[in-house]
């Protein structure tokens, strides 16, 4: 069952960037791609629990700020050392200029 939660207005995330979103004791990373699509993943790197929202978005990649581990934020796939475990991804929808993620 989906559980849509309001994150922010679309213009609060720059293109090719990411923000941190905390909800109900959990932390997420919400991305805006260079081609203006929105995505969401778990907020912490699977390697050492660092907040990905402080990292660098390059095309469809998020790079962790601590050890430069890379994931595809579109699929959650870990792209090689030092990250080995994929990120969990979450559905995103845009309604009336607002970003929602499904955290169920």
């Amino acid at each position: 069952m989906s559980n849509w939660v309001e994150v922010c207005a679309t213009d609060e995330i720059d293109e090719e960037d990411v923000i941190r979103f905390d909800h109900a004791g959990r932390t997420f990373a919400v991305y805006r791609s260079p081609d203006d699509e929105f995505f969401a993943t778990d907020g912490l790197c699977t390697h050492e629990k660092i907040h990905l929202a402080e990292g660098l978005v390059m095309d469809d990649i998020i790079e962790c700020p601590k050890h430069n581990g890379r994931f595809s934020y579109k699929t959650g796939e870990a792209k090689g050392a030092p990250v080995c475990v994929n990120l969990k991804t979450y559905p995103v929808k845009i309604e009336g200029g607002t970003v929602f993620i499904s955290v169920a």
Binding site: P65, R70, A81
Partner: protein, 361 residues
Amino acid sequence: MTRVATKRDYSLLGRDAQAAVQSGLSAAEWYHTDIPRKQMKELMKREDGPAIRDTILWLGSMVVCGALAIYFWGSWWCVPFLLVYGVMYGSASDSRWHECGHGTAFKTRWMNDAVYEIACFMIMRNPVTWRWSHTRHHTDTVIVGRDPEIAVMRPPDLLRLVLNFFGILDVFHATIDMVRNAAGVISAEEKTFIPEQEQPRAIRIARIWLAIYVATIALAVTISSILPLMLIGLPRLYGAWHHVMTGLLQHGGLADNVIDHRLNSRSVYMNPFSRFVYWNMNYHVEHHMFPMVPYHALPQLHEMIKHDLPAPNKSIIEGYREMIPAFLRQLRNEDHFLKRELPPTAKPYREELHAEPIAAE
């Protein structure tokens, strides 16, 4: 009252390793200077241009100097060319291994990976093992028992330090590690930081390297000349001095078991040649605080946050003038370290986060 110095256990499987995990020193949240997101994004931005230019200069100078060393081989004229070749092989490879390991040197991934593999071979660091050990170094910088890359343990082994200016002990240990890995053995300590799925690759690379060294030695024997080894292998000895000279300054004589890079890392202003060889790692506090900033943006980062950092040493010599007396004092008292003073504009050290008071004696 006389205080008894604390005996440190640097084993990754030992008492201090367990204590660091239990106390929360390991994998802790480190201090970093606040930088607005927009500026941080600009600093983190990747480019190919600077690293392509520097790699052409680096490998190009090796080709030219190597060719001239071969041409003048047998006369003293080969010496200056070998000295330059050696520093590029045995020292510049250290910084290239490091920066490309972070994946920040180039924007294009395969360029990072290619230069990383070449540099790892020259510096004799298995690209798998050292990628993971360096990851740990950034998680637990100079945390005793957790950081596998502490260059100067307490009390300092000064003979070891001097020998390593010529790569002697490093190459000895690197050779043993390579042969052991080539035989299919990953040590218990390596297993603490290399994931299981990565271990076969470490073994495969060790076998390739061993084959290259055997072929080089065979060529030297066949032509009855040491020249092949002067170009492959031995430059790791006679060209190591520069990377050891700059590398010791990174953390030498400073605090251990703290979670603020301003206390355990050192930035040093250096001449342009050393900065080229070292790829700007003289801005070492800045690098540790923000490891995703590429080497070519570190001077800009330094200007942005220097108000919050201890003043850098003004030169390599000044750094050594501060560090060597600290090493000598640590021979008598392992707890001694240099506490770097912060400027009035800086946020203070977070004394409450450190197990021991961070005032130097």
